[in-house]
Symmetry: C2
Subunit: 331 residues, 2 copies
Amino acid sequence: MPELRRDPIVGRWVIIATERGKRPSDFKIDVPDTNPKNCPFCLGNERLTPPEILSYRETNTKPNTPGWWTRVVPNKFPALQIEGTLDRQAVGIYDKMHGLGAHEVIIDSPDHLKTPADLEDHYVEKIIWAYRDRIVDLKKDNHLKYILIFKNHGKVAGATISHPHSQLIATPIVPKRVKEELKGSLQYYRYKERCIFCDIIRQEIKTKERVIIESEYFLSFAPYASRFPFEVCIIPKKHRAEFALITPKEVEDLAKILKSTLAKIKKALSNPAYNYIIHNIPSTLRGDLEDYHWHMEIMPKLVNVAGFEWGSGFYINPTAPEVAAEYLRES
Amino acid sequence: MPELRRDPIVGRWVIIATERGKRPSDFKIDVPDTNPKNCPFCLGNERLTPPEILSYRETNTKPNTPGWWTRVVPNKFPALQIEGTLDRQAVGIYDKMHGLGAHEVIIDSPDHLKTPADLEDHYVEKIIWAYRDRIVDLKKDNHLKYILIFKNHGKVAGATISHPHSQLIATPIVPKRVKEELKGSLQYYRYKERCIFCDIIRQEIKTKERVIIESEYFLSFAPYASRFPFEVCIIPKKHRAEFALITPKEVEDLAKILKSTLAKIKKALSNPAYNYIIHNIPSTLRGDLEDYHWHMEIMPKLVNVAGFEWGSGFYINPTAPEVAAEYLRES
């Protein structure tokens, strides 16, 4: 079973995924592109994945057979596992616990090549519904404190299977980065009695220079303190703490703005590798929280993170977000 | 002038290095290996760098001419600049200040190919003396709150010039990651009245399973909650908060253990890209601080940091540090 270990100095948890156990020689082999013939995410190869957890499919088709549009399956090499107990314990000065959690794969569509930037709108909508439905389901498990949705596109961004897919990892503790956002936005709320994200949205819409797309319900913009060149944030314009409370109209609109933003990034930067993540409230907090606001962060992988960043937690970004937004608006 | 921008939610500062200003097309070109003929760090090409700040060289040779063993020069494209004022100000809801600081390059040796893993001991000692002497000098500038020494080895680790070199960035604020370490170790000290790093060293020497090399003054080991496969920490065995207080005997010993550790990593993992950093106390704190302990962190770049890590601040490490330490001990 994977093990969670706590850094005793900064309190950061690390997943030691022993089941993926790597020897030095394992790092020397480059991951080959999957061939659609034996791609576990392609239509007709459903037997190559563990049994599906969820799928949206044509009526009268059976689970784990063709006929699906979006399909959710457990990760075959999970970083965290759903069975067992946490069993937190000391190891001398250190702390560890069992790697309890969930690790799922959301197969975007049966198409081996089309990413959300290329798919028809209704496919992108189904991906978003899958995110929403899995969050609603996993929130029922009290052991899981946080559910993180993310996508790795391209090898440099960590994708090991080229067929476009998203992932979900549910963790038994609230991750550090989410805690930092919650802490910062709560401090602001206590001082101003306003949501900091709502204030950011108002300022961005007013100044316009960092806006990429504004739709009925969402804003796509380059954050003021972007860590990476061409980093983008997509956020609901009205206050919303809980992603899973998204309405059908908002799903339609989010699918359009996500697709357009990713298509602009693909065009402007020649299909770069990227990660995107959804930052939502922890499962233990109420959906109507006034001081947090869910959002997506899209991070193209154009520069290598180097020693300075690892050592400091500071980032050097060679492209001002105003410049990035202008390029993306015009792409 | 570069600009420092503060993320209003988590308080993270980002350097918008406008002088390095990148357009989308700049990201498409791969950095070519430097040819020793026009390598700015090679012997005889001293005119290709800004004038040297420090060099250790044969007697009777002039600055900026051959005859040097280790040479320190300003970075030609600095992320931060030494002249000017901070001029911190609001931009609506946001905060910015001028990118005041220092960015220097420590050219390890005149050899275009030899890294500290391959150089003779006395060269590695000179690199360490250069780190020490530059820290002592920059500490005199009250604007600079922190001095970070780091090395990027290999393209994936962010090196843009292949001739082995280290870098130094001095910042007008204490970086987030250092603050987190200071906070965690102070909390421990208040509770136990002992340095947490000293306790870690005692436990690691006792259990042995994560130790790679133990020398007279230093310990090289795989940290219990390693974020990355084959991550290594080198730390002075006796309590030392301030790196710059290192003694000549300790420099000799550090040169040997650093060289041996890097040689083991090079051998076991087929010369991987890596970053190393030195975590020292901020310039504003006293060198005899009882609750902090300087150390080096070596991070081989074997896996891609993906969406989960960026979104959570959690790390998935596929190699247990006990396994990594065993491989490195035997390499």
